[in-house]
Point group: C2
Chain length 437, copies 2
Amino acid sequence: MAKRVIKVGILGLGIVGGGVAQLLMEQKERLSGRLGAELVLAKAADRDASLARELGLPAKICCNDAEQVVNDPDIDIVVELIGGLSPAKEFMLQAIENGKQVATANKALLAHHGVEILAAAKKAKVSLGFEASTGGGIPLIGSLREGLAANEVSQALGILNGTSNYILTQMTNRGQSFDEALAEAQAAGFAEADPTFDVEGIDASHKLAIITALVTGKQPRLEDIPVQGISRITPLDIKFANDFGYKIKLLALLRNQGGRVEARVHPALIPHDHVLASVDSNFNALHLTGDWVGDVLLYGQGAGRRATASAVVADVLSLARDILAGCSGRLPALGTETETSEPLELAPLEEAVCQYYFRFTAEDQPGVLASISHFLGDHGISIEAVTQKGIDNNAPVPVVMLTHQAKEAAVQKALAAIDNLPAIAQPTLVIRKAWTK
Amino acid sequence: MAKRVIKVGILGLGIVGGGVAQLLMEQKERLSGRLGAELVLAKAADRDASLARELGLPAKICCNDAEQVVNDPDIDIVVELIGGLSPAKEFMLQAIENGKQVATANKALLAHHGVEILAAAKKAKVSLGFEASTGGGIPLIGSLREGLAANEVSQALGILNGTSNYILTQMTNRGQSFDEALAEAQAAGFAEADPTFDVEGIDASHKLAIITALVTGKQPRLEDIPVQGISRITPLDIKFANDFGYKIKLLALLRNQGGRVEARVHPALIPHDHVLASVDSNFNALHLTGDWVGDVLLYGQGAGRRATASAVVADVLSLARDILAGCSGRLPALGTETETSEPLELAPLEEAVCQYYFRFTAEDQPGVLASISHFLGDHGISIEAVTQKGIDNNAPVPVVMLTHQAKEAAVQKALAAIDNLPAIAQPTLVIRKAWTK
């Protein structure tokens, strides 16, 4: 006879942990009905005891020590929502060693220490759920692990950071500066007081590392993923890009072709008629291309208490089904038994080929455009379009170019030379065009 | 020790069955690697022996009799791709009774006989995969069964028929008539010689029945779902709708609020800025609203050999994992143990409330607009916008109205009276506005 009660323990009662506790309590009947077994929030740990009180959790299930949860023999599923690397990692490994099924939203931990954690889960024959780590409530991990499992995914383009997408949307729709849009995002609760992690692409790179592992069965080293944020984008760039036929989005890009894997995060030009161009505000989306399924888009709220709790509890239900059916570890973490602890070697950025948008900031003096063009031509970079707008005072003027396909290595060399020109007032802004096929 | 070879048998080698056979053969290594076990196409049946030859299937695995597949004790997973109600139903029930795991793309069969088939699967403790039945390659069944399982889905809006969406897109973008766009869709392979099933909304209603069952845990009676197709839509309607701020799409609509469930298929107005308005060509999409996850969109190819095969093989992999882990029947077909064979009672269409678009076709004579307005007013239907364009000859002219919120029962009564007027030359065309919140 299968076990008819499943006991869940939560580590961390912050934004997401509090949401998960609330969902498990408020919808206990719904969730237990789906499962055909009683799903019980049996223990919750947070150093800050006031959080449990605010949530109205019964005192007898609360503690301030995560060890009491991971070492409790009655707990079946541990939900790690402490965030950050340490002590979250130690508690998670302890829970795995104790044979608990584990669900987490901790993208940083998986991106940094995924190899170690997945190996521990495999060894202990427990399942690891991380639907909430990437794309918030969007069921994209499950889709990659199972729904699209027949495919080789050749390409993925993701809008994976809601803060950056909200800021870029405000800049696009209302002509706000980055700073104005950021302040508004902070006021609306879509950005942290220190927004670096979100607006500089770091958060998106963690999520891209996870998606890359799911697509290839191997985990990349986080430091191998080139990252560029959006803080240098101006309303002028958005306007020029628009004139060229594009929107600017912070993209996570993955290309997986013939064993060669490219992965990077940067602001990118997306043609207006591409379905990702209409993903606005704080929404996230992942656009995948599989060799059998063709193009798929998965879209929804990529963050927030309720959407993230939805994903965590989906994992909890799935882990609970495994326990009830006596098949824990049924699905490998990366959805493939070929997964390996050998790291994925990414192709270096220097080898990348795409179209480029450059915004040069030049003193308004004769010959600058000629010098720029000269250096680009010398490196084999040809121009598709150029826009220069003189301004009536003597301030430096933007010169904007869209190139044909060019090689990153050549672009970096040409820009080093150009940015060294006395007439160039600021480092040149680079925006790469997204591959759209 | 778990079983290390999984044997698959296919019933039907038509478009989809042929695609599945091809995928299983061409990608045997990939699929077996994912599974950690050998996945073998062990038997394939089709009455037409030439299909197996064209696919290059080894003669020893081919037969012309489905019974040889469903009764073969070596077969672990039966893939039913015959389509239609009979004999597909009998073969599927036989396979289930024989303890085979079953995958199918047969939406008609599930929509008509789902209660019986699900009960048989439950009794035999086998799993039923039907990812390919709805939304082709889009992982939407899996998302509803597991990825969004923590939610009560309050609303679903689906573009679920690629043929109709292709035709409406061509009519919208190129001003083609329905007949012109249909002919082009037929030439492009996106429409059957007899397109009734697709363009009159029947196919979409089968898919909506399946989605409704997944959302509510109860199966609706197919005949309770009101269905209206797109064959009476004209480029003029598309233009008028555009002027009012909307696109016209064939939608499957589901609303699930407080135990009251509405489900119907009809052409619908969607605001230009709604994400479904940008789902064009032969793409499908499902827009869901859950109480925790918020809005989610799942988008991709809803039909076609390769995309549908992708979904069928995703099911095969999932069923194979259950066999390998010794947990067949782990997930109930509707994703909930509360599923019941008691049919779902849908709210009658007459109780529906929404905004309406009417195109009246009236003789160009004085007083017609007054008569129409009189009947609408009498039934409590108020007008948000009206457009009348006189035409220089004496032909009947279209009078187009957009109403405020109105009740379907009142609309039907008013239109019965209006269509009875001598000056009304054709039955009035009705397009309902989609709920967007």
